[in-house]
């Protein structure tokens, strides 16, 4: 029998909890009371997150932590980066030019080596078992920080495949904090204004609806109507910014810089969303599980990522957004140094790398190291719990003090026995 409690335990308390807090979050301090200019200025200081998820496990040896001319090093050479003494794999020429903006942690040592459990465990920060499913990082930020003054949804996921409203990520926080997924970079159903309506008509009928709601709620409890107004407002803001999500109109020159690839397109959409004010953008990329033919696969995959990731770092730096945007690129684990019989690399949580940039993290730093063959971390590695503390701290959230309130059950934001990685923080 499975000794662990099931994730949906305490679902009841979540329901109650949300009932009490949804309104408070929805009608935060900024709701519609400030001018667009002021909102823009205020938003500029608001912290945001770009989270790039390379599903299946990117090989650290073919990217951030190459070991050329060693037993397990593989065929690729290394190249110099913009940071003297730091080398990346030759598959990452563009990221090498951005190294002075990146912070690479090379001694990540986690516990799960299966995709089915690892993907969720890593993105939930693998806290101690509390008998509840923890939120993915995006849902956590949606809860803790909410939408920015832009009123756009707090947590958006640009991904290959299907889109829609993905509640699973939210864990015990409840579906409200799930992600709004743009499948194949396309907006979810019904996002675009209906062809039969003009902007003016749409605005006017919406004002009528608000008027009817005001009269209805005048002598009733306000909770439901307020919540309804909030989602209609969000819908309006989202519809207004439909241009942000339109991949068909991306300028050719920029697209060449990001790469005319899936991840290139999606990264550009992500940049537009961050510029528009989405709090947390996750970009998903699949197909990194290179058990067979790792080197040809990496030669194809890594440069696509390299180009897209370097381009967005460059753009975020140019607009100044990087100063308050935390950027993360990672997988659920790394890949084995040992090369298997299919010329592939298998799952390797023991020693792998995560790249970060922007808000709160030390630019140009390389934190920790693996041993000469890359088979293990030198000294003590960092588990995912420590990485979560690092992210929270970078965003100005004291994860040692702030707690979730799960129906008056206080829950820590991240593994309470672990600490932030100081060397990675400014």
């Amino acid at each position: 029998m499975n000794p662990l409690c099931k994730p949906w335990e305490h679902a009841t308390s979540r329901r109650q909890f949300l009932g009490a807090s949804a309104g408070a979050l929805a009608f935060g301090a900024l709701g519609g009371m400030i001018s667009p200019q002021a909102a823009e200025a205020m938003r500029k200081q608001e912290k945001q997150v770009l989270f790039v998820w390379l599903d299946g496990g990117m090989s650290q040896l073919e990217s951030w932590d190459p070991k050329p001319n060693t037993e397990f090093g593989g065929p690729f050479r290394t190249i110099k980066t913009s940071v003297p003494g730091t080398h990346f794999s030759e598959l990452m020429p563009q990221c090498a030019k951005q190294a002075h903006r990146l912070c690479v942690v090379r001694n990540i040592a986690t516990k799960d080596n299966a995709h089915s459990s690892g993907v969720a465990r890593i993105q939930r920060g693998d806290p101690k078992n509390r008998g509840v499913a923890y939120p993915f990082f995006g849902s956590s930020i949606a809860k803790l920080m909410g939408p920015t003054a832009s009123k756009l949804p707090a947590y958006v996921w640009v991904k290959p495949g299907s889109g829609g409203f993905k509640a699973e990520d939210a864990g015990f926080l409840g579906p409200k904090y799930g992600s709004l997924a743009f499948g194949d970079g396309k907006p979810p159903e019904d996002l675009l204004r209906h062809a039969s309506l003009t902007v003016e008509e749409d605005e006017e009928r919406n004002e009528l609806r608000e008027l009817l709601n005001q009269r209805y709620t005048a002598q009733r409890r306000p909770t439901f109507t307020e919540a309804s107004s909030f989602v209609f407002d969000s819908a309006r803001e989202l519809m207004k910014r439909a241009d942000v999500f339109d991949t068909t109109k991306l300028p050719a020159k920029e697209l060449d810089r990001y790469g005319r690839t899936e991840i290139g397109q999606h990264m550009m959409v992500a940049r537009n969303m961050l510029e528009a004010g989405v709090r947390f953008v996750k970009v998903g990329s699949y197909g990194w599980d290179t058990h067979g033919d790792n080197f040809n696969a990496s030669a194809s995959l890594v440069p696509k990522f390299d180009r897209a990731f370097a381009a967005i770092i460059e753009d975020l730096a140019a607009t100044g957004l990087l100063d308050h945007t935390l950027v993360i690129a990672m997988s659920e684990f790394g890949r084995t140094p040992r090369i298997n019989g299919h010329v592939g690399r298998d799952h390797w949580p023991e020693a792998w790398s995560i790249a970060m940039a922007g808000c709160g993290v030390k630019a140009g730093a390389v934190v920790g190291a693996t041993n000469a063959l890359g088979t293990d971390v030198k000294d003590k590695g960092h588990d995912i719990g420590a990485v979560f503390h690092t992210w929270f701290k970078a965003l100005g959230i004291d994860s040692k003090k702030v707690e979730y309130d799960n129906n008056s059950q206080p829950l820590p934001l991240a593994h309470d026995d672990m600490e932030a990685i100081k060397e990675a923080l400014v």
Partner: protein, 549 residues
């Protein structure tokens, strides 16, 4: 060794039940009056909302007992009726109509399956059972101990077979079935007791979870074959107790099938009893059929007048269904440290329901006749936020996605065309079906699977759906006989307002609303038809339409 634990709460319930029974004067009064007395007594000096006006009552009763909204004609007729007992008559009519069983089946399907798929045989089992007004204890036994060979009853088994279906590579979710059975039929969420005693609820012990768990874990999901036309669950032989150990204290325990917080089922003794109905055949390797069915024995003891939590749970849930809030909240955390808001009233309902042989139709009719049910949702003057648990004001309740789809089609006058398939002649473009509407409304408004639907919960998805969905806007285009067609033909703004408000909100407009509409139509005189569509849209997207109030 396990004994029945006489908890303080149980003792109190039994005492109260005995008191009630001996209280002659009290018992003589109809239940509806006793309910109102106890509600008023508890509210002390808090102001009560006025009685709901006829229109509000009519709409509420329709949603609750029919699942849809009345037509403009029906509304007008009811409002014009001057007879004193017209509300009681309406309740009688609605509860006696065929739609009542369908509405009950819909409500119980949502409550018991929590959007975890759909199944036609299960739905028709529920509908037929409510149509026959089958007692709730009997239904519960049929659901928890299904007869998979009976054509009419096997649908009930979907409650269990759906939950035992394997999802991907995960283990069969016996703990999930255990948890749901406790939550839904007894109002106790025992999940935390799987591995140890409950940390915050002292009534819930590890043995309570495991007594249910052992019963379900003894089953195996089998595919349809031979006599079995659907997937079914096979029970294995059980002659030993299930042993468990607390991961916190290492204390061991053992139990056979057991009603949570109740009695344990004695196991057969292979030395003394004949344990096989059909013994296993070693030659053909056919597994035998055990004489002892833990499911059947457990279901008989769980869904029984002897099990006080069984009656309390259903009384609490029926009250929640009609009043928007249970006496015990959350509905699945019945225990002595989480007392009911109205302990005597819940005890009374549980007892009366038991005495009436778990006749839900009777209980619902009684509750519908109370002043508490028939109160307005408008707050009494001066009351800013009266405590919900006092039931001084009618609470706004969520409408299910199905109710919304139905009400939307009825209000826009597209019901006959879409549902009945009539008068499609001359209609250009795609011919929409009832299924299209149900599917779209479910996708926009139903909760995620396995999330209980308990509260009004506006979502971004729903807002986008209402604003931009094809079906929504299609319904608001002028088409022969629909709402837009009817109002576009009217020249008088007052008459337009009457028609719109009666059709959509089931009430006549007030003067201010009439004036507003007239002003709006004057402004949009050049594009009157389109403007009427927008006005109707605004009404259909408003909270007044979207809640049961």
């Amino acid at each position: 060794m396990q004994l029945l634990r006489p908890s303080a709460t149980l003792t109190r319930w039994l005492l109260l039940a005995a008191l009630m029974a001996s209280h002659g004067a009290f018992a003589a009064e109809p239940l509806q009056l006793q309910v109102d007395k106890l509600i008023v007594a508890k509210a002390a000096k808090q102001p009560f909302a006025a009685p709901a006006d006829d229109a509000e009552f009519l709409r509420r009763a329709w949603f609750d007992f029919n699942g849809g909204i009345p037509s403009a004609e029906e509304t007008k007729k009811f409002l014009a009726d001057k007879t004193a007992d017209k509300r009681a008559k309406l309740i009688e009519q609605l509860v006696a109509a065929p739609r009542f069983a369908e509405q009950m089946a819909e409500a119980f399907n949502i409550q018991l399956m929590e959007r975890n798929g759909s199944n036609d045989e299960w739905r028709s089992y529920l509908t037929e059972s409510f149509r026959a007004n089958k007692p709730w204890d009997q239904m519960t036994r049929e659901i928890l101990s299904p007869d998979f060979k009976d054509e009419k009853l096997r649908g009930a088994g979907w409650f269990m077979t759906r939950r035992l279906d394997k999802v991907g590579q995960q283990d069969t979710d016996y703990p999930g079935l255990t948890r749901d059975a406790g939550r839904l039929f007894m109002g106790v969420d025992l999940q935390c007791c799987q591995c140890h005693k409950h940390l915050t609820v002292k009534d819930y012990k590890q043995v309570d979870f495991n007594g249910l768990f052992v019963t379900f874990q003894n089953t195996k999901l089998q595919a349809a074959s031979g006599d079995y036309k659907t997937a079914w669950v096979q029970e294995a032989m059980m002659t030993n107790k299930y042993e468990f150990v607390s991961v916190l204290s290492n204390v061991k325990g053992a139990t056979g099938p057991r009603v949570p917080l109740g009695v344990e089922v004695p196991l057969p003794d292979p030395a003394k009893d004949e344990i096989w109905l059909v013994p296993p055949d070693p030659k053909t390797r056919k597994p035998g059929v055990p004489k002892f069915s833990p499911l059947k024995e457990l279901a008989a003891r769980l869904a029984s007048p002897e099990n006080p939590l069984f009656a309390r749970n259903i009384a609490n849930r029926v009250w929640w269904q009609l009043m928007g809030r249970g006496f015990v909240e959350p509905l699945d955390l019945n225990h002595s440290d989480n007392p009911a808001s109205h302990p005597e009233l819940l005890d009374l309902l549980a007892k009366e329901l038991t005495d009436h042989k778990f006749d839900l139709r009777w209980l619902i009719r009684e509750l519908a006749l109370t002043q508490t049910y028939q109160r307005a949702s408008l707050l009494p003057v001066g009351a800013k936020s009266p405590p919900e648990e006092l039931f001084t004001v009618a609470k706004e309740r969520p409408l299910s996605a199905e109710q919304l789809a139905r009400a939307f089609l009825a209000a826009t006058g597209e019901q006959e065309r879409v549902v009945g398939g009539k008068a499609w002649e001359g209609v250009e473009g795609k011919k929409h079906t009832q299924k299209d509407f149900e599917k779209a409304f479910l996708a926009a408004f139903a909760n995620a699977a396995k999330e209980p639907e308990l509260n009004v919960n506006p979502t971004l998805r729903a807002a986008l759906f209402l604003r931009n969905n094809d079906l929504v806007l299609w319904s608001l285009q002028r088409r022969k006989g629909n709402l837009l067609d009817r109002v576009a033909a009217l020249t008088d703004a007052g008459k337009v307002a009457d028609e719109l408000y009666l059709a959509i909100l089931s009430r006549p407009p007030v003067a201010e609303e009439k004036a507003e509409l007239e002003k709006y139509l004057t402004k949009h005189a050049a594009t009157r038809e389109k403007a009427l569509g927008h006005y109707a849209w605004a009404m259909l997207s408003s909270m007044e339409f979207f809640t049961n109030h």
